[in-house]
Point group: C2
Chain length 198, copies 2
Protein backbone atom coordinates (compact mmCIF):
# COMPACT_ATOMS: atom_id res chain seq x y z
CA UNK A 1 0.00 0.00 0.00
CA UNK A 2 2.88 2.36 0.74
CA UNK A 3 4.29 1.55 -2.69
CA UNK A 4 0.97 2.34 -4.38
CA UNK A 5 0.97 5.77 -2.69
CA UNK A 6 3.32 8.62 -3.50
CA UNK A 7 5.33 7.92 -0.32
CA UNK A 8 8.97 7.03 -0.62
CA UNK A 9 10.06 3.80 1.04
CA UNK A 10 13.34 2.35 2.25
CA UNK A 11 14.12 -0.85 4.17
CA UNK A 12 16.71 -0.41 6.93
CA UNK A 13 18.22 -3.64 8.25
CA UNK A 14 21.05 -4.55 10.58
CA UNK A 15 21.45 -7.88 8.79
CA UNK A 16 25.15 -8.69 8.55
CA UNK A 17 25.07 -12.45 8.06
CA UNK A 18 24.03 -12.20 4.42
CA UNK A 19 24.33 -10.01 1.35
CA UNK A 20 21.41 -7.71 0.47
CA UNK A 21 20.63 -10.09 -2.42
CA UNK A 22 20.07 -12.99 -0.03
CA UNK A 23 18.14 -10.81 2.43
CA UNK A 24 15.83 -9.53 -0.34
CA UNK A 25 15.18 -13.05 -1.63
CA UNK A 26 14.10 -14.11 1.83
CA UNK A 27 11.66 -11.18 2.09
CA UNK A 28 10.36 -11.79 -1.43
CA UNK A 29 9.69 -15.37 -0.38
CA UNK A 30 7.59 -13.98 2.46
CA UNK A 31 5.55 -11.99 -0.06
CA UNK A 32 7.24 -8.58 0.15
CA UNK A 33 7.57 -6.43 -2.96
CA UNK A 34 11.20 -5.40 -2.40
CA UNK A 35 14.37 -5.01 -4.46
CA UNK A 36 18.07 -4.75 -3.52
CA UNK A 37 18.34 -1.01 -4.27
CA UNK A 38 15.65 -0.27 -1.68
CA UNK A 39 17.73 -1.68 1.17
CA UNK A 40 20.07 0.19 3.55
CA UNK A 41 22.34 -2.26 5.38
CA UNK A 42 25.51 -1.99 7.50
CA UNK A 43 27.94 -3.63 5.04
CA UNK A 44 27.32 -1.19 2.14
CA UNK A 45 27.33 1.66 4.68
CA UNK A 46 30.76 0.46 5.83
CA UNK A 47 31.94 0.29 2.20
CA UNK A 48 31.03 3.95 1.70
CA UNK A 49 33.05 4.89 4.81
CA UNK A 50 36.00 2.79 3.65
CA UNK A 51 36.04 4.42 0.21
CA UNK A 52 35.63 7.96 1.57
CA UNK A 53 38.57 7.54 3.94
CA UNK A 54 40.80 5.32 1.75
CA UNK A 55 40.62 2.53 4.33
CA UNK A 56 41.66 -1.02 3.42
CA UNK A 57 39.92 -3.43 5.77
CA UNK A 58 40.91 -6.66 7.40
CA UNK A 59 37.51 -8.41 7.54
CA UNK A 60 36.22 -10.33 10.57
CA UNK A 61 32.73 -10.98 9.26
CA UNK A 62 30.34 -13.78 8.27
CA UNK A 63 31.33 -15.66 5.09
CA UNK A 64 27.96 -14.82 3.55
CA UNK A 65 28.47 -11.04 3.80
CA UNK A 66 31.99 -11.04 2.28
CA UNK A 67 30.64 -10.49 -1.29
CA UNK A 68 29.42 -7.02 -0.22
CA UNK A 69 33.09 -6.06 0.11
CA UNK A 70 34.09 -7.47 -3.31
CA UNK A 71 35.13 -4.12 -4.77
CA UNK A 72 37.05 -2.96 -1.74
CA UNK A 73 40.85 -3.08 -1.70
CA UNK A 74 41.85 -5.34 1.18
CA UNK A 75 45.62 -5.56 0.61
CA UNK A 76 47.92 -4.28 3.36
CA UNK A 77 45.01 -3.45 5.73
CA UNK A 78 44.89 -0.20 7.72
CA UNK A 79 41.67 -0.92 9.63
CA UNK A 80 39.46 -3.79 10.85
CA UNK A 81 35.79 -4.29 9.98
CA UNK A 82 33.91 -6.53 12.40
CA UNK A 83 30.44 -7.97 11.84
CA UNK A 84 28.45 -10.80 13.34
CA UNK A 85 30.99 -13.38 12.19
CA UNK A 86 29.36 -16.31 14.06
CA UNK A 87 31.61 -19.38 13.65
CA UNK A 88 34.33 -17.12 12.28
CA UNK A 89 34.70 -15.72 15.82
CA UNK A 90 37.46 -18.21 16.58
CA UNK A 91 40.37 -17.62 18.97
CA UNK A 92 42.76 -17.55 16.00
CA UNK A 93 40.66 -15.06 13.98
CA UNK A 94 40.19 -12.74 16.96
CA UNK A 95 43.94 -12.74 17.66
CA UNK A 96 44.59 -11.99 14.00
CA UNK A 97 42.19 -9.02 13.94
CA UNK A 98 43.73 -7.79 17.19
CA UNK A 99 47.26 -7.99 15.75
CA UNK A 100 46.23 -5.93 12.71
CA UNK A 101 44.74 -3.24 14.98
CA UNK A 102 47.55 -3.08 17.54
CA UNK A 103 50.09 -2.86 14.73
CA UNK A 104 48.52 0.34 13.33
CA UNK A 105 49.63 3.79 14.34
CA UNK A 106 45.99 4.90 14.51
CA UNK A 107 43.89 1.75 14.99
CA UNK A 108 40.49 2.08 13.28
CA UNK A 109 37.80 -0.47 14.18
CA UNK A 110 34.54 -0.30 12.23
CA UNK A 111 31.69 -2.40 13.61
CA UNK A 112 28.61 -3.39 11.60
CA UNK A 113 26.52 -3.27 14.77
CA UNK A 114 26.57 -3.10 18.55
CA UNK A 115 24.09 -5.86 19.42
CA UNK A 116 24.71 -7.74 22.67
CA UNK A 117 23.15 -11.09 21.77
CA UNK A 118 20.43 -12.72 19.70
CA UNK A 119 18.41 -15.88 19.70
CA UNK A 120 18.68 -18.74 17.25
CA UNK A 121 16.86 -22.05 17.18
CA UNK A 122 19.70 -23.68 19.13
CA UNK A 123 19.90 -20.96 21.77
CA UNK A 124 21.31 -17.52 22.58
CA UNK A 125 24.45 -16.34 20.81
CA UNK A 126 26.86 -13.49 21.54
CA UNK A 127 26.41 -10.73 18.96
CA UNK A 128 29.03 -8.52 17.32
CA UNK A 129 28.87 -5.91 20.11
CA UNK A 130 30.49 -8.29 22.59
CA UNK A 131 33.46 -8.98 20.32
CA UNK A 132 33.69 -5.29 19.45
CA UNK A 133 34.06 -4.57 23.20
CA UNK A 134 36.80 -7.20 23.50
CA UNK A 135 38.86 -5.54 20.74
CA UNK A 136 38.11 -2.05 22.08
CA UNK A 137 39.43 -3.03 25.49
CA UNK A 138 42.51 -4.85 24.19
CA UNK A 139 43.53 -1.92 21.96
CA UNK A 140 42.21 0.88 24.21
CA UNK A 141 40.15 2.35 21.36
CA UNK A 142 36.53 3.15 20.49
CA UNK A 143 34.91 1.39 17.55
CA UNK A 144 32.87 3.29 14.96
CA UNK A 145 29.47 1.64 14.59
CA UNK A 146 27.87 1.84 11.15
CA UNK A 147 24.64 -0.14 11.71
CA UNK A 148 21.49 0.99 13.54
CA UNK A 149 21.25 2.97 15.86
CA UNK A 150 24.20 4.97 14.46
CA UNK A 151 23.22 8.41 13.21
CA UNK A 152 25.16 8.03 9.96
CA UNK A 153 23.16 4.90 9.12
CA UNK A 154 19.85 6.78 9.16
CA UNK A 155 21.45 9.73 7.40
CA UNK A 156 22.52 7.42 4.54
CA UNK A 157 18.99 6.11 4.22
CA UNK A 158 17.59 9.67 4.16
CA UNK A 159 20.17 10.76 1.59
CA UNK A 160 19.29 7.79 -0.62
CA UNK A 161 15.63 8.83 -0.45
CA UNK A 162 16.46 12.51 -0.91
CA UNK A 163 14.39 13.67 2.07
CA UNK A 164 14.95 15.61 5.29
CA UNK A 165 14.69 13.90 8.72
CA UNK A 166 11.49 15.77 9.62
CA UNK A 167 9.85 14.49 6.42
CA UNK A 168 10.47 10.85 7.33
CA UNK A 169 9.09 8.30 9.76
CA UNK A 170 10.92 5.18 10.91
CA UNK A 171 8.88 2.06 11.64
CA UNK A 172 10.46 -0.79 13.59
CA UNK A 173 10.13 -3.27 16.44
CA UNK A 174 13.30 -2.34 18.35
CA UNK A 175 12.98 0.55 20.78
CA UNK A 176 16.74 1.30 20.86
CA UNK A 177 18.03 0.47 17.37
CA UNK A 178 14.99 1.51 15.33
CA UNK A 179 13.03 4.08 17.32
CA UNK A 180 15.86 5.60 19.41
CA UNK A 181 18.30 5.80 16.51
CA UNK A 182 15.79 7.50 14.21
CA UNK A 183 14.73 10.00 16.87
CA UNK A 184 18.35 10.97 17.56
CA UNK A 185 18.53 11.78 13.88
CA UNK A 186 15.55 14.15 14.03
CA UNK A 187 13.06 11.68 12.54
CA UNK A 188 9.77 10.62 14.00
CA UNK A 189 9.47 6.91 14.79
CA UNK A 190 6.82 4.31 15.35
CA UNK A 191 7.27 1.06 17.25
CA UNK A 192 5.31 -1.95 16.06
CA UNK A 193 4.39 -4.58 18.63
CA UNK A 194 5.42 -7.51 16.50
CA UNK A 195 8.75 -9.24 15.83
CA UNK A 196 11.06 -8.98 18.82
CA UNK A 197 8.67 -6.70 20.75
CA UNK A 198 7.97 -8.01 24.28
CA UNK B 1 69.19 -14.24 50.73
CA UNK B 2 65.65 -13.17 51.73
CA UNK B 3 64.99 -16.73 52.86
CA UNK B 4 68.15 -16.77 54.98
CA UNK B 5 67.02 -13.60 56.74
CA UNK B 6 64.10 -13.33 59.15
CA UNK B 7 61.95 -11.71 56.43
CA UNK B 8 58.74 -13.41 55.36
CA UNK B 9 58.36 -14.09 51.65
CA UNK B 10 55.48 -14.79 49.31
CA UNK B 11 55.34 -15.16 45.52
CA UNK B 12 52.36 -13.42 43.89
CA UNK B 13 51.61 -14.49 40.31
CA UNK B 14 48.82 -13.88 37.81
CA UNK B 15 49.60 -17.20 36.14
CA UNK B 16 46.32 -18.85 35.12
CA UNK B 17 47.51 -21.21 32.39
CA UNK B 18 48.94 -23.71 34.86
CA UNK B 19 48.50 -25.07 38.37
CA UNK B 20 50.76 -23.78 41.13
CA UNK B 21 52.57 -27.13 41.02
CA UNK B 22 53.56 -26.61 37.41
CA UNK B 23 54.45 -22.96 37.99
CA UNK B 24 56.69 -23.87 40.94
CA UNK B 25 58.47 -26.61 38.98
CA UNK B 26 59.28 -24.10 36.26
CA UNK B 27 60.78 -21.67 38.79
CA UNK B 28 62.68 -24.47 40.55
CA UNK B 29 64.12 -25.36 37.16
CA UNK B 30 65.38 -21.76 36.94
CA UNK B 31 67.13 -22.19 40.29
CA UNK B 32 64.56 -20.63 42.65
CA UNK B 33 64.12 -22.10 46.13
CA UNK B 34 60.30 -22.07 46.12
CA UNK B 35 57.46 -24.37 47.18
CA UNK B 36 53.75 -24.47 46.32
CA UNK B 37 52.56 -23.17 49.71
CA UNK B 38 54.54 -19.95 49.18
CA UNK B 39 52.55 -18.98 46.08
CA UNK B 40 49.49 -16.72 45.87
CA UNK B 41 47.72 -17.18 42.50
CA UNK B 42 44.34 -16.19 41.03
CA UNK B 43 42.82 -19.69 40.81
CA UNK B 44 43.17 -20.56 44.53
CA UNK B 45 42.03 -17.01 45.35
CA UNK B 46 38.93 -17.66 43.24
CA UNK B 47 38.37 -20.98 45.03
CA UNK B 48 38.32 -19.17 48.39
CA UNK B 49 35.69 -16.74 47.05
CA UNK B 50 33.62 -19.59 45.62
CA UNK B 51 33.63 -21.49 48.93
CA UNK B 52 32.87 -18.42 51.04
CA UNK B 53 29.83 -17.53 48.93
CA UNK B 54 28.63 -21.07 48.08
CA UNK B 55 29.17 -20.44 44.38
CA UNK B 56 29.28 -23.35 41.92
CA UNK B 57 31.28 -22.27 38.86
CA UNK B 58 30.96 -22.96 35.18
CA UNK B 59 34.65 -22.85 34.18
CA UNK B 60 35.96 -21.09 31.07
CA UNK B 61 39.66 -21.55 31.80
CA UNK B 62 42.81 -23.16 30.47
CA UNK B 63 42.85 -26.98 30.67
CA UNK B 64 46.05 -26.86 32.71
CA UNK B 65 44.50 -24.80 35.52
CA UNK B 66 41.37 -26.96 35.90
CA UNK B 67 43.02 -29.17 38.60
CA UNK B 68 43.08 -26.12 40.94
CA UNK B 69 39.27 -26.34 40.99
CA UNK B 70 39.20 -30.10 41.71
CA UNK B 71 37.52 -29.79 45.10
CA UNK B 72 34.92 -27.24 44.00
CA UNK B 73 31.33 -28.32 43.34
CA UNK B 74 30.59 -27.48 39.71
CA UNK B 75 27.15 -29.08 39.33
CA UNK B 76 24.22 -26.81 38.43
CA UNK B 77 26.41 -23.69 38.13
CA UNK B 78 25.40 -20.33 39.61
CA UNK B 79 28.38 -18.31 38.37
CA UNK B 80 31.07 -18.27 35.68
CA UNK B 81 34.82 -18.23 36.30
CA UNK B 82 36.87 -16.98 33.37
CA UNK B 83 40.65 -17.25 33.03
CA UNK B 84 43.09 -17.01 30.17
CA UNK B 85 41.53 -20.00 28.41
CA UNK B 86 43.62 -19.63 25.21
CA UNK B 87 42.36 -22.20 22.67
CA UNK B 88 39.35 -22.84 24.90
CA UNK B 89 38.11 -19.35 23.91
CA UNK B 90 36.06 -20.81 21.07
CA UNK B 91 32.80 -19.37 19.74
CA UNK B 92 30.91 -22.36 21.19
CA UNK B 93 32.52 -22.08 24.66
CA UNK B 94 31.93 -18.34 24.84
CA UNK B 95 28.27 -18.78 23.91
CA UNK B 96 27.96 -21.50 26.55
CA UNK B 97 29.44 -19.32 29.30
CA UNK B 98 27.19 -16.47 28.18
CA UNK B 99 24.08 -18.67 28.38
CA UNK B 100 24.95 -19.74 31.93
CA UNK B 101 25.32 -16.09 32.97
CA UNK B 102 22.25 -14.72 31.23
CA UNK B 103 20.15 -17.55 32.67
CA UNK B 104 20.98 -16.53 36.27
CA UNK B 105 18.83 -14.18 38.30
CA UNK B 106 22.00 -12.47 39.60
CA UNK B 107 24.77 -13.20 37.10
CA UNK B 108 28.17 -13.47 38.84
CA UNK B 109 31.28 -13.38 36.66
CA UNK B 110 34.62 -13.96 38.38
CA UNK B 111 37.70 -13.19 36.30
CA UNK B 112 41.18 -14.50 37.11
CA UNK B 113 42.70 -11.34 35.65
CA UNK B 114 42.07 -8.23 33.59
CA UNK B 115 45.04 -8.32 31.21
CA UNK B 116 44.52 -6.90 27.73
CA UNK B 117 47.02 -8.98 25.78
CA UNK B 118 50.35 -10.76 26.07
CA UNK B 119 53.14 -11.92 23.83
CA UNK B 120 53.99 -15.49 22.93
CA UNK B 121 56.63 -16.82 20.57
CA UNK B 122 54.08 -16.90 17.72
CA UNK B 123 52.80 -13.36 18.34
CA UNK B 124 50.41 -11.27 20.44
CA UNK B 125 47.34 -12.91 21.97
CA UNK B 126 44.18 -11.45 23.47
CA UNK B 127 44.23 -11.92 27.25
CA UNK B 128 41.37 -12.78 29.61
CA UNK B 129 40.41 -9.10 30.10
CA UNK B 130 39.16 -8.81 26.52
CA UNK B 131 36.84 -11.82 26.87
CA UNK B 132 35.75 -10.60 30.30
CA UNK B 133 34.67 -7.33 28.64
CA UNK B 134 32.74 -9.23 25.97
CA UNK B 135 30.72 -11.10 28.62
CA UNK B 136 30.30 -7.97 30.75
CA UNK B 137 28.81 -6.10 27.79
CA UNK B 138 26.57 -8.95 26.64
CA UNK B 139 25.13 -9.46 30.15
CA UNK B 140 25.30 -5.81 31.27
CA UNK B 141 27.26 -6.76 34.40
CA UNK B 142 30.61 -6.05 36.07
CA UNK B 143 33.05 -8.90 36.59
CA UNK B 144 34.84 -9.41 39.90
CA UNK B 145 38.57 -9.66 39.27
CA UNK B 146 40.55 -11.88 41.66
CA UNK B 147 44.08 -11.62 40.19
CA UNK B 148 46.51 -8.69 40.47
CA UNK B 149 45.86 -5.71 40.72
CA UNK B 150 42.70 -6.56 42.73
CA UNK B 151 42.88 -5.46 46.35
CA UNK B 152 41.61 -8.79 47.65
CA UNK B 153 44.47 -10.58 45.92
CA UNK B 154 47.11 -8.65 47.88
CA UNK B 155 45.02 -8.92 51.05
CA UNK B 156 45.04 -12.73 50.71
CA UNK B 157 48.81 -12.72 50.37
CA UNK B 158 49.17 -10.49 53.45
CA UNK B 159 46.77 -12.69 55.43
CA UNK B 160 48.73 -15.79 54.48
CA UNK B 161 51.92 -14.09 55.75
CA UNK B 162 50.18 -12.74 58.83
CA UNK B 163 51.44 -9.17 58.34
CA UNK B 164 49.91 -5.71 57.90
CA UNK B 165 50.15 -3.80 54.57
CA UNK B 166 52.53 -1.20 56.01
CA UNK B 167 54.89 -4.01 57.10
CA UNK B 168 55.19 -5.40 53.56
CA UNK B 169 56.85 -4.44 50.32
CA UNK B 170 55.79 -5.69 46.88
CA UNK B 171 58.50 -6.22 44.25
CA UNK B 172 57.47 -6.60 40.60
CA UNK B 173 58.07 -5.56 37.01
CA UNK B 174 54.52 -4.39 36.18
CA UNK B 175 53.70 -0.80 37.12
CA UNK B 176 49.91 -1.37 37.14
CA UNK B 177 49.40 -4.96 38.30
CA UNK B 178 52.30 -5.22 40.77
CA UNK B 179 53.19 -1.71 41.95
CA UNK B 180 49.80 0.01 41.55
CA UNK B 181 47.81 -2.86 43.03
CA UNK B 182 50.05 -3.13 46.08
CA UNK B 183 50.02 0.63 46.70
CA UNK B 184 46.22 0.72 46.55
CA UNK B 185 46.33 -1.85 49.31
CA UNK B 186 48.51 0.35 51.56
CA UNK B 187 51.75 -1.49 50.82
CA UNK B 188 54.98 0.01 49.59
CA UNK B 189 56.16 -1.26 46.22
CA UNK B 190 59.33 -1.48 44.18
CA UNK B 191 59.51 -1.83 40.41
CA UNK B 192 62.37 -3.87 38.98
CA UNK B 193 63.59 -2.94 35.53
CA UNK B 194 63.70 -6.51 34.26
CA UNK B 195 61.06 -8.85 32.78
CA UNK B 196 58.39 -6.95 30.91
CA UNK B 197 59.80 -3.53 31.94
CA UNK B 198 60.33 -1.21 28.94
Amino acid sequence: RIKASSLKLRFCTNETQATREKFVKKLQGLGFDISVDEVTAPAPAACRVLKERSLRPHLLVHDDVVPEFAEIDKANPNCVVIGDAADNFSYANLNEAFRVLIGLENPVLISLGRGRYYKETDGLKLDVGAYMKALEYACDIQAEVVGKPAKMFFESALAELGVQPQQAIMIGDDIVNDVGGAQQCGMRALQVRTGKYR
